[in-house]
């Protein structure tokens, strides 16, 4: 995956460059808005990570400009401004995701990976999601594992649906909170963990191979570990 990082702080961009490369991605770095805009206009990236406050062209204008040009590369805005309305402004400018500084790299990586995959294929259009022997039908809202029907609460269904849509990818707790509950604040307690462990009890209990896995320091993933 090819990522463009637009960040003026040299040490921050060096850190991101290194970290993304270590995760197996290719990285280009632009140190100001105009350079970033020029590189992004060529449109060869799977995802763009933009700092909001950068010289020569601020992050919001850059995003807006790219969208005007009909360049729909997934964009994630990184910003020290993490208030509710800052986020709204960022998304309104055309960004796909917004992450407040300081952030953990695992969070950024998980988000960028999910964003870039969204750009390539459209698995969210599928009616039936399958992971191993687990099957989820989005139309009939039926969930079954090995022909055993599993009864889920509506929110549990949405949680599983989100996990399965990104099967094999890491999703973080904040991503779950944002996408399943549509909240962007930081709950002081591990509310998400409890929801996931409830879901896990329904999906994995009584089966030999667990499907929902905890990724330490990052979040969760659903995958068929037998394969």
């Amino acid at each position: 995956m090819k990522i463009l990082i637009v960040e003026d702080d040299a040490s921050a961009s060096a850190y991101l460059d290194k970290a993304f490369r270590e995760s197996g991605h290719m990285v280009d770095v632009a140190s100001d808005g105009l350079d970033g805009y020029a590189l992004a206009s060529e449109g060869r990236y799977d995802a763009i990570v933009v700092d909001r406050m950068i010289p020569r062209m601020d992050g919001l204008s850059l995003v807006h400009g790219l969208r005007e040009q009909k360049i729909d590369t997934p964009i994630l805005i990184l910003s020290a401004l993490g208030q509710v309305d800052d986020r709204v402004k960022g998304l309104r400018a055309g960004a796909d995701d917004y992450l407040a500084k300081p952030y953990s790299f695992s969070e950024l990586l998980a988000r960028v990976e999910i964003l870039s995959r969204r750009g390539r294929s459209v698995p969210s259009e599928d009616t039936i999601y399958r992971v191993g022997d687990l099957e989820l039908n989005r139309l009939t809202r039926r969930v079954a594992r090995l022909d055993t029907e599993i009864d889920l609460q509506p929110r549990e269904f949405r949680l599983l649906e989100y996990l399965m849509r990104h099967a094999g990818q890491v999703v973080t707790r904040t991503m779950l909170l944002e996408n399943v509950w549509d909240y962007h604040f930081d709950p002081q307690t591990n509310v998400i963990d409890v929801h996931v462990s409830r879901l896990r009890a329904k999906i994995d209990k009584g089966f030999d191979t667990p499907l929902i896995h905890t990724i330490r320091g990052a979040g969760y993933t659903i995958r068929d570990s037998a394969r």
Binding site: V84, S104, Y183
Partner: protein, 464 residues
Amino acid sequence: MTALGRLFRTTAFKLALAFLAIFTVFAGLILGYVAFNAFRLLDEQVSVTVAEEIDGLLTQFNTGGVIRLVHQIERRSRQPGSSLYLVTSAAGETLAGNISSIDSEGLLEAGTYELFYRVVEDGAPRPHRALVETVILPGGFRLLVGRDLAETERLHNVIFRAAGWSILLVLVLAVIGGVFVARRVLGRVDQMTETTRTIMAGDLSGRLAVTGTNDEMDRLAQSLNAMLERIGELMAGLREVSDNIAHDLKTPLTRLRNSAEEALRIGESLTDYRVALENTIEEADGLIKVFNALLMIARAEAGGELEGMNKADVIDIARDVVELYEPFAEEAGVALQFEGEGPFLVMASRELIGQALANLIDNAIKYLPENADETHQPAVMVGARLSKDHVELVVADNGPGIPESDRERVLERFVRLETSRTRPGSGLGLSLAAAVARLHGGTIRLEDNAPGLRVVLSLPIVAP
């Protein structure tokens, strides 16, 4: 600038001047109108008197001929007064009358004239103005009846003078009134300026004087005082927050630094370093949380328009948060329930209201006693109810509650009632909820749930 110069520049003075001009013009118009009518009335009276007298004399003439007329004229001429009479023959010789000193040539045609005649006063002849009317009688006789206008002129003069004096009086009064008002207002404004200067110099405790007359200056002073009160509160809050930040941010920072230092000093294995680094990240994450909460409170307290405010049903928001916390509560052995029938529409940020509620629920669960006995099941009740034009979101628990004396205090930043600070939490949850309430034009209050604590978040309802 001189005192007079300053006076000229005041709004009050300019206003007084404008009123003065309007008053003068108005008074002039009224007096002019009155005088004009009075003059006309006086003149009319004279001509009516003359006409009536002529009528009377004509009757005499008709009944008794010229002899009787002459007789009447002679009799009337002898009486003192301002009447003028003259009867002449067709040839123009005077038959009777008290006018001798006028050239009667021109007066012998029928008609009304104004003329001057001489009257001997104090031994010297003086010209007097008179109004006369001449009629021609059968037989060529001329009858002339007139009135001396001296008296009327005196009346005219009286009216003129009265009008003049009135205008002068109006002018003087208006000037005095204007100067008085201007000086008074100026004095109070000066006083206010003086007070605000001392306040600007740094003494925030100063307040503007309120005279108690409840006039506009008083109201201005009251609003300014209220503003000062609010600024003072914010300043005090700021000072307190910086103290608290010093404490609540420096403590974890110290811990963070210590563990890093310790790892450097005595760390031997990779595991040691790993543990130390994990600790460091954990502390840093904690710090970030506190920092975010602080920024959020600051944003909410700054007020103003917030992007992302929508009309939303608080029931939906509350139900979602309860649903989010329900498994967590269950795991903690707490019965978390929601009760309320909507819809209650408010202009709200779902995100902020959600976070405020999450904080309240989180607090309630956290402070419930952990091992409850059989009879006392820990429970948190979330509800929404209508109270006039507000919707009250209630989070009630049956835990230890908060003593009444502390209820105001816990809303402040970083205030935690347990001094040991062993339980997790930053002491920002309630202050954030309070700031969110304020941002939405609402209030937050803490009540006794007997037993337990009841937090009421009151938000104004909007029309659908």
